[in-house]
Amino acid sequence: MSTMPIVQIRNLHKRFGRIHALNDVSLDVERGEVVVIIGPSGSGKSTLLRCINRLETPTSGSISIDGVEIRGDERQINQMRAEVGMVFQQFNLFPHMTVTENIILGPMTVHKWDRERAVATAHSLLTKVGIPEKADAYPEQLSGGQQQRVAIARSLAMEPKIMLFDEPTSALDPEMIKEVLDVMLDLAREGMTMIVVSHEMGFARAAAKRIVFMDQGQIIEVTTPELLFTAPQHERTKRFLSQILH
């Protein structure tokens, strides 16, 4: 069981009307592995991520998480989502709740934890992401970087097996990117399985075991960070790299 890939994606297709957002995508992610997905906008990176936790329903193909194939049924999907954390580009914190309330909502409603346990977890997670003093603040009182760190803590509170990051630093001011990446690096070192859509090459180099390059709904190339920069295999990869690494 433990040698099996924790995420298995087989022949995944996703169509939005006439647009073929994902075209026959297959990918395995090992337990504890950090995979970074790069590619031009509209290449299907986010769609792939959103298919994994079923925020999008695939048109065809299969996804198995921890050996269980995910089908349409609501209960199974909710159960799976409790084990797969997701961090969004726009943070999506709940603005009417304090930071602590944001974090304890999931564990208390889904895992049925009592309030005491959930709050204790929330506080230790806030310490971990470096903002214990913001426990009673409201999201609007936080900077973008702080909000994103709360969002990561909110996902971690569910004690997920896998974390998905959908461009977690794209909406941040440059000076706040590092504080979020540092939290993600710590997480990677602790052995969390992470699938990250991001163009932060520094992070990719430091944490990623593999890099997936996508274009036009297809996986063009799967490589390591070193090989990506020294010896990209495909013409499209080269062109993309030259665009982002000016």
Partner: protein
């Protein structure tokens, strides 16, 4: 007043993203406020002046249409409460993914919005009597509820859809079901968007309730008509009726304004003015009035089975008890009555702190006005045991 206004402008950029406030760029709030003061002072000066200087017929008219104002309030408050429930169902239906529920809700909204309220009232009272005979009060409440349920449903739909898509996604990504996401994440946020337009619907309903006078219900307009048709004092009566409607509407429009303001300053310590407190008091008044009406109805129902010594004494005792519960609520909820919460106020600093004795006492003074529910007070005062129509006969005989 000045400090509050400057604060409003200053806090504007810190509002939540979807509550953008451009009052700093367009200074129309101030001129609206001035217009409001002019209108309310003129209305009050005329009503009070005419009543004092020319009690015949104005004081008599005030007494006469006062009974009607109570009926107007009662019908509005009951219909509004039911319309809110119906509107919530319709609004959830309009945003539901279930196609049957969605179509049903949309059908209701489309059909009802396409028929004038007056036509609906006629239809329910007269046309439906072929199948089932409903009393005028039931017809009136049913008509207002069904009509406003559709409008409020649309308001709810707009409020729910104004919440960014990412909120639902974030909640679902945590493993919450759609229902849980609605309950904990979407609806609490939507309420803040919805409350001001719902307040405006309440004001609109208060005015539209004058339409039920065609169903032989003695609301304010009909009481005025009854008086005018017997005394031929058309000018005096209808002027007063119009001014009382205006006065009530002006007061409630201001309350809605404060609720709107309160929504955008939740969780912030801000100055509290007398106007804020009064606005909170008016909300409390409406809440208590509604509770009072339910209690009154229950007492009447019990009185029909078990003869009570004096239903009014019982009513008075119940209302005092209710007031006590209200004060207790205020005490335990750290200085917040529903009205205070609606305008976004709390008397004490921090969460869970109890108010000091003097704060509690001051609040108590503000509660004296709305305490037993104004419309019930009027009923206690005006009912000397004889129904409304007898009172008319009496006043009329005196005039003759």
């Amino acid at each position: 007043m000045k400090s509050v206004e400057s604060h409003t402008v200053k806090s504007a950029p810190h509002l939540h993203g979807w509550q953008q406030d451009d009052s700093a760029l367009i200074p129309r709030e101030r001129s609206l406020l001035i217009a409001w003061w002019i209108a309310i002072i003129l209305a009050m000066v005329f009503i009070i002046g005419a009543t004092v200087l020319k009690p015949d017929p104005y004081w008599e008219i005030v007494q006469f249409i006062g009974d009607g104002l109570v009926v107007t309030f009662q019908i509005t408050i009951v219909s509004m409460t039911l319309a809110l429930i119906l509107g919530l169902i319709a609004g959830l239906g309009r945003t539901a993914t279930n196609p049957a529920f969605n179509t049903l809700a949309s059908l209701y909204v489309e059909v009802i919005r396409g028929i004038p309220l007056l036509a609906q009232l006629f239809w329910i009272y007269y046309a439906m009597s072929r199948f089932i005979r409903l009393g005028p009060e039931v017809s009136a409440v049913l008509g207002l509820t069904i009509c406003y349920g559709a409008y409020i449903g649309e308001t709810f739909r707009g409020g729910i859809q104004s919440i960014p898509k990412g909120q639902m996604e974030a909640a679902r990504a945590l493993g919450l079901t759609r229902g849980q996401a609605m309950r904990y994440v979407i609806i609490p946020q939507a309420v803040r968007v919805i409350l001001p337009p719902v307040g405006n619907e309440f004001i609109a309903m208060l005015k539209d309730s004058s339409l039920v006078s065609v169903l032989a219900i003695s609301d304010m307009l009909r009481r005025g008509r009854e008086y005018a048709s017997r005394t031929f004092a058309y000018f005096e009566t209808y002027t007063l009726v119009a001014l009382v409607y205006l006065l009530v509407t002006l007061i409630f429009s201001r309350v809605v304004f404060y609720i709107e303001q309160g929504m955008s300053r939740q969780n912030k310590e801000q100055p509290v003015t007398l106007m804020h407190r009064l606005a909170g008091g008016v909300v409390d008044l409406v809440v208590l009035d509604f509770i009072g009406l339910i209690v009154y109805g229950l007492i009447q129902a019990i009185g029909a089975v078990i003869p009570l010594a004096s239903p009014y004494l019982v009513l008075l005792v119940v209302m005092v008890l209710l007031g006590a519960v209200y004060v207790l609520f205020f005490w335990t909820r750290a200085g917040r009555t529903p009205g205070m919460m609606a305008v976004g106020l709390r008397l004490t600093d921090g969460e869970g702190a109890h108010p000091t004795l003097s704060q509690a006492f001051r609040r108590l003074l503000f509660l004296i006005l709305p305490l037993p529910g104004l419309s019930l007070l009027w009923m206690l005062w005006s009912s000397t045991g004889e129904p409304l129509h007898d009172r008319f006969a009496r006043t009329h005989i005196i005039r003759d």
